[in-house]
Amino acid sequence: MIDPRREIINENLKNIKNIIAISSGKGGVGKSVIASTLALLLAKNKKVGLLDLDFTSPSTHVILGVNNVFPEEKNGLIPPKIFNLEYMSIIFYSSNKVSPLRGKEISNALIELLAITKWNTLDLLLIDMPPGISDATLDIMRLVKKIKFIIVTTSSLLSFETVRKLIDLLKSQKMPIIGIIENMKNGKSFIEKRVKEKGISYLGWIPFDPELEKWIGKVEKLLNTSFAKKLGKISEKLI
């Protein structure tokens, strides 16, 4: 039995210059807000796509306030364009209902979505990853040739402990790591030192922004937050 879908994944991605997974060892560190805001910021003068691969707990559609758009079916699925970026999520098909998926099914859904989504020519595709180093991370490493990683951590030891393992996995498999973003920084932190000790680039830090929550789903306001401004500075180093 041969699964034919894997064969066209990289063909579908061939017109995308950079593919970056926004990952972390832990949930709740701000991966989705960073992936969404980064995509919006870079889409101002680049061709950008955003793919939400957190199948069981997708949230980028909430952050972006996605409404009344749907992929077009044309020799595959054409991602709809929102705020100047091409956007794809499982949410279009789950009708916002719960999708309880086990590992094998996450893998299958991920392969299917990558096999049938037809992206345009892009400078950058950002992938919002689920937390941890299970199926989606392993599949992206295995299936997407051009993949690079940005890792998000908070200043917490608990967060960095899981990030350390993710870094070790990626380094052992010779996966390119662009760098680490320290999110929700509050006071002194050991993260920069530890990241540099591991030979990874420290891209910068973002302070905890109490205003951010208010502007979830309101893109214009979101882009005016101190969070977005600080992320904008970090984004200048990326592409």
């Binding site: 034919p4 020799n75 099914e105």
Partner: protein, 132 residues
Amino acid sequence: MHEWALGEAIISTVSKIAKIRKLRKVEKVEIRVGELQQIEMDVFKYAISQLKGKKFEKTKFNIKTVKTKLKCKFCNYEWVFKRGKLKEKESEFIHFIPEIAHSYLKCPKCGSPDFEIVEGRGVWIESIKGKR
């Protein structure tokens, strides 16, 4: 016409395997399509006929549908997928991503959404026969 993308996947895979096995001529490709994905057979066949090109002009692409067997992880009940009470939209969504069935189907015995697709998920190649 997402069948087109699946057709492209079939042709690319056959091409790659023929190269690996050093097949001069591919005579027959057996394709299986699980009922869960509800592939439009005419569209799928048309896509393959348009995509196969000169290289596979004389290759026979046999396509057979396979019933979808589901098994509840909670109570172990096994059943065969039928579109049944699924709404048209739900059915269409499962067509694009079969795993999305977990948002719309439940075990008929215990009501759990935690089931396994044992067989008949999507599209796969059963065998490729040719001559060196």
